[in-house]
């Protein structure tokens, strides 16, 4: 067993031990092979599963189990197939690419009490009463017009957060109606629609329905605690705001530090009760691939505790 692989497995084990504290018989790494696929190393608890793909060496040790061999029984109450099927059943609505060192640094700087009462929130924001969603097109005369005959005047702020190819892409924009006349409407372009942001939120008053709308909107968040902007072509609707326990995500993100990855992709689904998936972005093909699937929090109730 290479020392590097051993270290990676140790890193995977750490959250497995911490979140299976009540049932010590679940401490272990499960090696699983599906048909002729390469080996996968799996660590799981009730709340998450970590998978490392393409494990080339079969390590042996007190907490390492290989079900199809004679190393010992599975450490887990469910099979490797059942655990891996949760990854396959996941259907993403979009993803955010976040810089791992920055994210870890910001969460790590938080006082431990604050970290325990914080959440990571993925939110598309919301549409206000006077907002409308429009597409734009650049005409041959160089003028950008809305693809809606009623919208005759468009006010585009000079310092707006728009890409240089505004109006060229097949992109929706969130606009606010400034003036509504009989035959024409004047709108101000506010933002790109289909943007999902990730924010770290500590709410001293808890996460209750009273403050949930502002929290889900990420309003009042310091800009440095908002990460990753994801531009997606909105299909039927944007995902609902999704909450993850900050402490648990921090523990899981630390697993990725062993492979020195700079960016992670966080995939989320439309349903806030469905889990999210985190993957490392490979910088070269030989880098190990680590996938994590983690259950979300109910928005207005307490966090899981170790």
């Amino acid at each position: 067993m290479s020392s590097q692989l051993g270290t990676i497995l140790d890193f995977m084990m750490r959250p497995g031990v911490e979140y299976n504290m009540q049932k010590r018989k679940y401490w272990g790494v499960l090696f699983h092979q599906k048909f002729n696929a390469p080996l996968s190393a799996i660590v799981a608890s009730a709340f998450f599963a970590i998978e490392m793909e393409n494990v080339s060496v079969n390590p042996k040790g007190q907490f390492f189990y290989y079900v199809e061999d004679d190393w010992g029984p599975s450490p887990y109450p469910i099979t490797g197939d059942e655990i891996l099927s949760s990854f396959q059943a996941f259907s993403p609505a979009g993803n955010i690419t976040a810089p791992l060192p920055n994210l870890l640094n910001h969460i790590g700087k938080l006082n431990e009490d604050v970290r325990k009462r914080s959440r990571i929130i993925f939110s598309p924001g919301r549409i206000e009463k006077n907002d409308i969603i429009l597409k734009f097109q650049k005409y041959p005369d160089g003028v950008v017009r809305a693809r809606n005959a009623k919208i005759q005047k468009v006010f585009i702020p000079v310092n707006g957060p728009f890409p240089a190819d505004f109006g060229m892409r097949n992109q929706f924009y969130k606009c606010r109606i400034l003036e509504q006349l009989e035959s024409e409407v004047l709108v101000e372009v506010i933002d790109i629609y289909g943007k999902v942001r990730l924010g770290i939120k500590h709410s001293p008053h808890g996460f209750v329905p009273d403050n949930m709308e502002a929290i889900n909107d990420l309003s009042g968040f310091p800009p440095e605690l908002i990460y990753g902007i994801n531009y997606t072509e909105p299909q039927r609707w944007l995902p609902f705001p999704t909450h993850i326990d900050c402490m648990m995500l921090y523990d899981l993100l630390k697993v990725f530090t062993i492979i020195e990855t700079k960016f992670i992709d966080i995939l989320f689904s439309y349903d806030p009760n469905k889990p999210i998936v985190i993957k490392n972005r490979k910088e070269n093909p030989l880098d190990p691939q680590i996938n994590v699937i983690v259950a979300t929090l109910n928005q207005t109730f307490g966090a899981q505790r170790r």
């Binding site: 299976n20 709340f47 949760s86 949930m212 983690v294 259950a295 109910n298 207005t300 109730f301």
Partner: protein, 149 residues
């Protein structure tokens, strides 16, 4: 007579004519809490979410939907009564409302709660199809693998 009803009646005549059924369409589009006026529905759902007595539990969508349904029926009755429609005619219109609108108010309330991001109990989607996802469960933490607990 309630003057706001007179104003509503005048508006209804201007827009939809004198016919009782045209007025019914008018009142649905403009004055009832339905999906056809989503902002009004959302605001009322939000108010009722905090006002209704839910016995210290997560609010139930049926309790909210029931109040909205009753309020809508009352508006219809008062509106037509103010124009001296007979009780039979009013009953006809209310039963029309009960047939078309009442059964789906639960679903509209649930959609509004999803937009607001509030948790709730009694998903209408789930009662029809147990496989359908409940967008907001009333458990504290969603569990990925129950076998570990």
């Amino acid at each position: 007579m309630d003057m706001s009803l007179v104003v509503k009646g005048q508006e209804s005549i201007e827009r939809y004519g004198y016919d009782a059924w045209d007025r019914y369409r008018y009142i649905i589009l403009n004055h009832l809490c339905t999906k056809y006026s989503p902002d009004k529905l959302k605001e009322r759902v939000r108010e009722l979410y905090f006002e209704t007595d839910h016995e210290c539990d997560t609010p139930n969508i049926h309790a909210i939907a029931e109040i909205i349904d009753e309020e809508n029926q009352l508006i219809i009755e008062e509106f037509y009564a103010s124009f001296n429609y007979s009780e039979n005619d009013i009953d006809d219109i209310v039963s029309q409302y009960n047939h078309h609108i009442s059964p789906v108010i639960d679903v509209w309330v649930e959609e509004s709660l999803q937009v607001l991001g509030y948790p709730y109990r009694g998903s209408a989607f789930n009662s029809y199809n147990s496989e359908a996802p409940n967008m907001f469960t009333d458990k504290a933490q969603n569990i990925l693998f129950k076998g570990f607990l």
